[in-house]
Symmetry: C2
């Protein structure tokens, strides 16, 4: 008996409605992108009253399927102007799912300056004034709600979202109730801010749970997937991710010459080893006096890649030093000190901002002379400005492209207004194609060709070669659109790309929950449907092929150490959409 | 023997080249838009090394044709991202024309922080270091160059252009060498800034002059046009423009309920009479002890609409208090004091910024709480921030849309990133169609339907009715594209719309200079060609119909006093391009 929870912030009502037939099989990104396409006028102002914010757990979220507790948040993005889906792993998601909630749709707008809390339990949903929470950071907000409600799923925004800044993310609590799991990209926290929705709590106590149409098939599917995850070198216990976290990629990308350094001016960073996953592992070991393996961010995750960083006295400083975050504040800002990157991540989490965008913004600010590359103290001060809402903070809070424009800069490494993640397109061409052609601005998870280009996972492709990269990116983008709809973490991709049985199990688990007979063909079919829908929204919003282009400077500035330009023809970029 | 002057800022050369056949008949906007289309990659970064800046006098500029001393500046705009042409009346333009220069093309980029002066005489053109001028305002720069060179045409940028701000205009000297005539719109001053070109001086002494293919026809044409201008109530000596200046429109628009007030929240301003053209005339009379009629901004102008405003002691404070400028800093900011608007205009001229965009920006800043509507002192302080290059100044200097985004606002009255001029689209529908469908963002001169909608010139149209406005705007946009190419001021339109002989004379004068047999049909043909070319550039840059739309709030917020919404269907907007 699943349902959609519709929260109207104009009249302050929260009502359940039946799930329309067309949405019955959908979950997560498939559902958020479909609902945004169906209900949001593509040319609307992202911060205006007609935009909507949709939260949806995945197809298998809330079941025993491993590593499947992702939540998708969808809207029209204030950062890119495109449709946007950004997902996070959090207990909030299975809790919603176990209450039978397929999606929460937040619409309308209350009076300016009014703040509310949405409370969701098996008995219903209601909006309460949240005056006491307004003005609080994400840590304090989450702590206050956990103290008040106990073991609940928490979603909130920090000060950046309250100030409607385009780098604001939507924050969720992790398994230990840290305010650390983010639907970070695309400014969805700002949309939540315009809705006057400071936070949501969900408690699934005595909820109905997620019904599974075919228990036997479900068991088989989960078993195959679990086996794949537990045997693949990247995802197995004490494997790469569990030991070193995602930051295991720092040294790897640095060696490949694809680690964007000092605002994408180089592909190698001399300080890389000092901020790599290995250094995090060793640093923690030294400070704790023992080896520390990583933990799960959300219920049922068996990859467990989430790390913590500790102070010299052994106390916890922050969770977590992800690859993207460490890179954004580290190599991209020329900073080689994990204590500094940790502090910058902590500030970001508390403000409620995307670390990729905020690190990229600091790098652009450094390019513009607001700080020297490598100056960690100044980087911390710049991040603190954001929370103060000073004019400088207002500039930075709008992201890297905005900051670049304020400073009159040309070297701004973004696509559709969103700063590029931690792979340099001139050195790793396939991911560049993904950045440029994605429906959501420069994004890596949306078509992670790094797997074959750098990690030899799912085949092998020469990162420096422009050949075949459109097709590679297209295939990854299609499969990922499906994967982003299941509730599974994208990191299961490593295992299921290399282990066919794992892939089969993933599809079976979804089919089993829904009672369909999906096969690999349906993965492709559904992936394409999602991409086409998102693309159509963007076209109606005014995007064209001309927006699927690299920042111009990558065409005339060669990237050391390979001294490569961006050399994939526009025609090849356009061919990504030939399907 | 006309030629093109090509100034390369990378290798610091200035070279003449023959005019390619395809450009032979072109002038001003026709030529700048054609050269930008031919030579600038539409997706380039407007502030990058591959953008170009083109200056071109009109077809009849430099001849004895009345009111024809306009210069067009064209480029890809940093404000809108579209192609851009912005023109001004200045002696700089006929001086270029009389040297036989059809266009000056500025391309490339010098080393960051280097500034140059281009000197153009009959003996040639050369670039000189301009270190002494860098950091100077437009007034000081112009004064220094006039002092150094004597009676020359001067073009320069102020601090806003040096800082690459998107509201920076290109400044020219008027007949009395005031730094007061602006190609203001679209941030072309920022492009000039990226080229390291602080200023240009042109001296046409002993130049060849403009050759006229058919002197007799030219004489006939000019005579007809002159007669029309000297008899029409708006353009005749001691007529509306010569007496009250363009600000004669303040009371008229206020009575029509179409004077945008307090950031487009109302169509009437209770303080309108205090800032109207009549008040300027009376104020000057009081302070000077005699009636003061307006003067010509450029050689050969017989309309003479340019005013000056005087201090209580009779000394000159600023030239000029145009309708758009007085409105932008007056009604739109809720300010009803001409001494304050004059000071804001003076600051704008000195900084080198577009008064429409800067007034609109202050209004948006007021909407966002940075000052109260009506607070003139605070408005002055905000404008001064721009020159200081503080973070707040960097926000404001990028224009109204940027400022609105920094402050998280939805009520930002722009199209394609350019703030709307002094006519409210909800109360004057035709001009709204022009704003939305123009190739250059919200612009009024590009299809001035105010003539029939408000002034009963060139027919009569009900401003509040949505009917027929697409066709009306289309016709005005087509004719204006031609007019913008002649060198004639757009204000001749009043006379030639009402007096057929005047129109005939205008066409004949152009045909006579070029040796063609153009008729009214050619005006339409050429106007369409120009629009299509500009539109094609924009399409290649990524613009679509979705960009030809009003700010969303105008669809749901009714404008007092008529309480009208924007109600022209998108289909009608799109039909403007059905030709």
């Amino acid at each position: 008996m699943s349902k959609i929870l519709r929260v109207n912030m104009t009249d302050l009502t929260a009502r359940y409605q039946d799930v329309p037939v067309k949405y019955k099989l959908m979950g997560a990104r498939w559902l958020t992108s479909s609902m945004v396409s169906d209900e949001v006028e593509p040319t609307c102002h992202p911060l205006g009253p007609t935009n909507k914010l949709v939260f949806a757990p995945g197809i298998v979220t809330g079941t025993a399927a491993p590593t499947s507790a992702r939540i998708s948040v969808g809207s029209k993005s204030p950062l890119t102007g495109t449709i946007k889906e950004s997902n996070a792993g959090t207990k909030f998601s299975p809790m919603l799912a176990k209450l039978g909630i397929k999606a929460v749709v937040v619409e309308g707008q209350p009076k300016e300056g009014m703040w509310y809390l949405l409370e969701v339990t098996k008995d219903g949903a209601r909006l309460l004034p949240a005056t006491d929470l307004a003005g609080k950071g994400a840590y304090a907000t989450t702590n206050a709600l956990i103290k008040r409600y106990g073991k609940v799923g928490v979603c909130c925004i920090g000060l950046a979202g309250e100030m409607k800044m385009a780098m604001a993310g939507v924050c969720f609590n992790d398994l230990s109730d840290r305010a650390s799991r983010y639907s970070g990209r695309g400014g969805l926290g700002a949309v939540m801010g315009t809705k006057g929705l400071k936070a949501m709590v969900v408690d699934n106590k005595d909820g109905p749970g997620v019904s599974i149409a075919n228990q036997e098939l479900f068991g088989q599917g989960c078993k195959k997937l679990t086996e794949a995850l537990q045997t693949h070198a990247i995802t197995k216990p004490k494997g790469a991710l569990n030991t070193y976290g995602t930051a295991v990629l720092i040294n790897i990308l640095n060696e490949a010459g694809g680690l964007p350094t000092r605002n994408f001016a180089s592909g190698t960073f001399e300080g890389a080893p000092k901020i790599a996953g290995e250094a995090i592992f060793e640093g923690n070991k030294q400070r704790l006096g023992k080896e520390l393996y990583n933990h799960a961010c959300s219920p049922g995750c068996i990859i467990q890649c989430s790390n913590t960083w500790h102070n010299p006295d052994g106390s916890e400083q922050v969770s977590c030093q992800e690859y993207e975050s460490v890179w954004a504040f580290g190599a991209n800002c020329g900073i080689d000190d994990l204590d500094v990157t940790a502090e910058l991540i902590r500030i970001s989490n508390d403000l409620g901002v995307d670390t990729i965008e905020s690190g990229g913004t600091i790098a652009v600010a450094m390019e513009g002379g607001l700080a020297k590359f490598g100056d960690g103290q100044k980087a911390i001060e710049l991040m603190q400005e954001i929370g103060k809402g000073t004019p400088l903070g207002r500039i930075l809070g709008q992201g890297a492209a905005f900051t670049g424009r304020a400073l009159g800069l040309v070297r701004v490494p973004g696509v559709k207004g969103q700063n590029m993640p931690a792979y340099s397109p001139r050195a790793v061409k396939g991911i560049g194609v993904t950045y440029m052609t994605s429906t959501q601005g420069a994004d890596h998870t949306i078509g992670y060709t790094i797997a074959p280009e750098i990690l030899s996972v799912g085949g092998k492709a020469d990162p420096l070669s422009p050949e075949g990269k459109a097709e590679l990116s297209r295939n990854f983008q299609i499969a990922t659109a499906f994967l982003d709809s299941t509730g599974y973490c994208v990191f299961i991709a490593f295992a299921i790309l290399d282990i066919p049985k794992g892939f089969e199990g993933m599809v079976q688990s979804c089919a089993a929950v829904l009672g369909t007979n999906w096969t690999a063909d349906d993965v492709t079919r559904i992936g394409k449907e999602i991409l086409r829908k998102e693309r159509a929204f963007n076209e109606a919003a005014g995007f064209t092929r001309a927006d699927d282009r690299p920042p111009e400077f990558m065409r005339y500035e060669a990237l050391p150490p390979h001294n490569k330009l961006w050399d994939i023809p526009n025609k090849a970029l356009d061919s990504v959409w030939d399907f």
